[in-house]
């Protein structure tokens, strides 16, 4: 409970036009030198659609571009959670799609879905935890893993292909 004094700026005293202008300048400055990544809003919107189901979402643990490969879209991303880690290698195909090779740790057979804006692809990991999707369309994507024999659902965050 706090009192409210409409004549005062709640953060510390009144502020004038110069303050307003400076704050606007500061905002513009940061928008310019450290802009929000282009696809972040889309990724967040994508992620909230799925998680209504109550899935466990892994977190980004590491991402590294692979040096010396022909496509700059090639990279290795690791998503980690309490009980499962998913590593994916994304490599650009000649069209705008990408090949996706994945590994689960601990290794396990698992139903794998890849959600994209244009639909869902399904595959399964083998007992060593490996899975692959040959052509994932460019855009935002998200992996949903359903470990066999459980009713758990684990997802990666949304990421961009």
């Amino acid at each position: 409970m706090s009192t409210f004094d409409p004549t005062a700026d709640p953060m510390d005293g009144p502020w004038d036009d110069v303050d307003t202008a400076i704050m606007a300048d500061i905002r513009r400055y940061w928008e310019t030198v450290d802009p929000v990544p282009d696809d972040l809003v889309e990724q967040a919107c994508f992620a909230v659609q799925l998680s209504a189901i109550g899935a466990e979402m892994l977190r980004l643990a590491a991402t590294e571009p692979l040096v010396g490969v022909r496509s700059e879209r090639t990279r290795l991303i690791t998503f980690a959670g309490d009980t499962l880690t998913i590593t994916i290698n994304v490599s650009g195909n000649d069209d705008r799609s990408a090949r996706l090779d994945g590994w689960l740790y601990p290794p396990m057979a698992c139903g794998i879905e890849l959600r994209t804006n244009t639909g869902t692809q399904r595959t399964e990991s083998d007992t060593e935890g490996r899975f692959a999707l040959a052509a994932v369309p460019a855009g935002v994507a998200q992996i949903v893993a359903r470990p066999t024999g459980t009713d758990r659902t684990v997802t990666t965050p949304a990421f961009s292909i």
Binding site: P10, M11, D19, L40, Q43, S51, L60, T63
Partner: protein, 199 residues
Amino acid sequence: MIAPPPDVPVADERQARRAALLAAARDGSQESLAELIADLTPLLWQVARSQGVDREQSADIVQSTWVQLLERLHEIHTPTALVGWLVTVTKRDAWRTKRSASTTGPTDEDLTLNQPDPGPSPEQRVLEAERGTELWAALARLPEVCQQLLRIVAFVESPCYAEISERLDMKRGSIGPTRGRCLAQLRVLLTVDNIGGGR
């Protein structure tokens, strides 16, 4: 001091809009939630980045904050509370990330304003950065807490200041930095810099 705490007046149209979106999102409207995400992600981005977390981790933190909101949506009833909750969760997560990465990860330089990331729209950025040089120079001379505070508050509308200051542990009347004090300091620096130069 005397007045009973009335509801903070929703002077801002944006706040009214947010209130409507929040109510609709609670009722399950994906479009409304998407609009809130588009509206408030820039603020959360700056909150995460101001804690010294790199761009990729910051994106992960912001996305995760929005996902966590889904479980709490039914408890949050005002746009001010929404902004406060989002900022708190983002900041806490950024702190945690920063701490666990600090042994191997980014240096403390990331924490201060020294290292703007490279990114898209280069030409416009150069122009803006040049125009902002004077402001930049003054900002960089502020204490780090002030730099962080002003960076975040610059992305917040006035009805939310009180909430934000509390969430950032910078309560009104406390000894620590406040938006007013930091801004006053900045203005002094800008005035001093302007002598003999000007923009």
